[in-house]
Amino acid sequence: MTQLTHIIELFQLPFMQRALIGGVLTGLMGGMLGSFTILRQLSFFSDALGHSALLGISIGLLLGLNPSVVVLPFAVLFALGVNYLLEHTRLWTDALLNIIYSSSLAIAIITLSFVGRYKGGLHNLLFGDILAVQELDLVFSGGLLIVCTVFIGLTLRTQMLMTLNEPLAIARGVAVSAHRTAFIVLLSLVVGISIKAIGVLLVSAFIVIPACAARFLSRTFAHYVVLSAGLGALSAVLGMVISAGFNLPSGPSIVATQLAIFLTAIALPNLRLPVHE
C-alpha cells in the first residue's frame, strides 16, 4: 500500500509526468515503425542507427553545440549514407552494419575523450535519462508521432505490399526506392529523438521487442501494426511504474517489461485451445 502511494506521489512530480509521456510517445512510435522494421529485416539497422547517434552527440559536444539539436540531422544523414552503402556494395547486410556500428561507437568514444568532462556522462548517453526529458522534447516527439501516424496511415496498403513482395509493388507503380528512403528517414528520426531518454544501447529494443510480441498475438496485419504500437506504449507505462516503485533505472525497466510482454506473448497462443480454421 505504501508502495502504491509512493508511486502515486512520484507521478505527481512534473519530471515524472514528462518522463511518462515521453515513454508513451516513444513506445507508440517505436512500436508502429517497428512492426514494419522487423518484417523488412531492418532490426539490426535500427541498432546501428542507435550506436551512430552517439557519434552525432559526441561530434556536437566537440563543436560546442547542443547535442539534442545535432543528433537529428546527423541521424538522418547517417541513415541515408548507410542505406546508400547497403544498396551499392556487395557485402552482407549484417556484416556491413556491424562494421558501421562498432566503428561509429569507437570513433564516438575517442571523440568524447577530447571533450573532457561531459556533465551528463557516458553512462547517461549509453542508457539514457528519461527523467531529464524536457517539455520541448515532448513537443518534438508528439510532432513526430503525428507525422509517423499520418504517413503510415495514408500509405498503409503500399507499405503492406512492399513488405510482402517488392516486384509486385513495382508492377503496381509503387516508387519502392523512394518509399524505402522515406521509411528509413522516419526510423532514424524516431531513433534520434528517443536517444536522450533511452540511450544508444537500448533504443532498438523499443523498435524490435513490442513488434515481435505483437507478431505472436495478431491474426491480421492491421491488428499487428496497432497492437505493436499499443504494446510499446503499455510497456513504457508499466516499466515507468516499476521503475518508480522499486527505484530502478527507468530505460532498462521499460526494456525488461517489453521482454516480459514478449515472453507472455510467446506463451499465450500455446495456452489457447486449438481453434479450427
Binding site: 495514408l154 496498403r157 503492406m160 505490399l161 513488405t163 510482402l164 507503380g173 491474426r219 496485419f221 480454421e277
Partner: protein, 258 residues
C-alpha cells in the same frame, strides 16, 4: 493479324532489354488488342520473363517504346496510377516471408487499392464486396480469414489470381500462372481466363510452357528466343517449322513422338 481501328491495349515497339552485358530481349515489337489471349512461348532463358518485367517497368529497358492503354511507359517505369490500376501481374515465383502476419482477405484487398496516399478505410464497403466476389470467382472464400503463411502452393496461386481479379482490369500479365495447380484447378483457371477475356474484354498476355494449352486457349502466339521469331495464330506459330526455329529441331522431334 487483326489490325482494327481500336487502340491496342499494349503496344511494344523495338524493345531491347539488357541483363548485365547481354541483350536478353532484342528488338521485339508486338501489340495486344482487347479481348484477346496472347501466349509467349520459347525455351528456358529465351527472355520471356525479362520481356514481361520490362513491360511492367520492373526491369529497365535499353531502347524501344512501350505504350499501355495509350500512355507511354516512362523510362524509369513511370505510368499514371489510373493506368497502373488497369494492369494486373501474376509473377512466376511469388516468394514471400511466411512470417508476415497477413490474411488472404488483406492480400486480395491490396489488389483493389490505388496505392497512392489514401485513408485506410476509404470505400470500405465497395472494397469488401470486391474482395468477396474475387474470392468467389477463384473458389477461395473459405480461405478469407486465413493467414497467407498457411496456404499451399495451389491455394497461393488462386489467392494471387483473386488479387488480380479484385479490380476490373484491362490487361492481365501472367508468368507461368497455372504452374502448381492440379488438373481440375488448371482447367477452371483457363475457363476463368476465357470468361474475363470474352465477357469483360480483358487483354491477356501469358508466358506458357504448356504448348497444348496454348493451342487450345490462345488467340495468338509470340515465339521468343531473345528476338521475336514468329507471331500469329497457334496453328501458324506452333507449326513444326516455327517450333524448331524457337526450340531447336530436337525438341520438335520429341514433341511429335509423344
Amino acid at each position: 493479324m487483326r489490325c482494327g481501328l481500336k487502340e491496342p491495349v499494349l503496344a511494344v515497339e523495338r524493345l531491347t532489354v539488357y541483363r548485365g552485358t547481354y541483350a536478353a530481349v532484342q528488338d521485339v515489337s508486338f501489340s495486344l488488342e482487347a479481348g484477346t489471349d496472347t501466349a509467349i512461348v520459347g525455351p528456358n532463358g529465351a527472355g520471356k520473363s525479362t520481356l514481361v518485367q520490362a513491360i511492367l517497368g520492373i526491369l529497365p529497358r535499353q531502347t524501344g517504346n512501350i505504350v499501355i492503354l495509350g500512355q507511354a511507359l516512362g523510362h524509369k517505369g513511370a505510368l499514371m496510377p489510373l493506368i497502373r490500376q488497369q494492369i494486373a501481374y501474376l509473377p512466376q515465383n511469388f516468394l514471400f516471408d511466411r512470417r508476415i502476419p497477413m490474411t488472404v482477405e488483406e492480400l486480395v484487398g491490396l489488389g483493389w487499392d490505388r496505392l497512392g496516399f489514401q485513408m485506410p478505410w476509404v470505400d470500405r464497403q465497395a472494397r469488401r464486396a470486391a474482395i468477396q466476389s474475387a474470392l468467389m470467382r477463384v473458389d477461395a472464400t473459405h480461405l478469407k480469414r486465413q493467414l497467407i503463411s498457411g496456404l499451399s502452393g495451389g491455394e497461393t496461386k488462386r489467392v494471387l489470381l483473386a488479387y488480380c481479379l479484385v479490380y476490373p482490369r484491362r490487361l492481365l500479365i501472367l508468368d507461368e500462372a497455372p504452374a502448381g495447380l492440379d488438373m481440375r484447378s488448371e482447367s477452371e483457371f483457363y475457363d476463368l481466363l476465357y470468361q474475363l477475356k470474352q465477357e469483360q474484354g480483358w487483354a491477356i498476355l501469358q508466358i506458357s510452357h504448356d504448348l497444348d494449352m496454348v493451342r487450345r486457349h490462345s488467340d495468338r502466339v509470340l515465339c521468343l528466343n531473345q528476338t521475336l521469331l514468329c507471331q500469329g495464330t497457334p496453328e501458324i506459330a506452333l507449326s513444326p517449322e516455327n517450333l524448331s526455329t524457337a526450340y531447336g529441331s530436337e525438341f520438335v522431334r520429341y514433341r511429335h513422338r509423344h
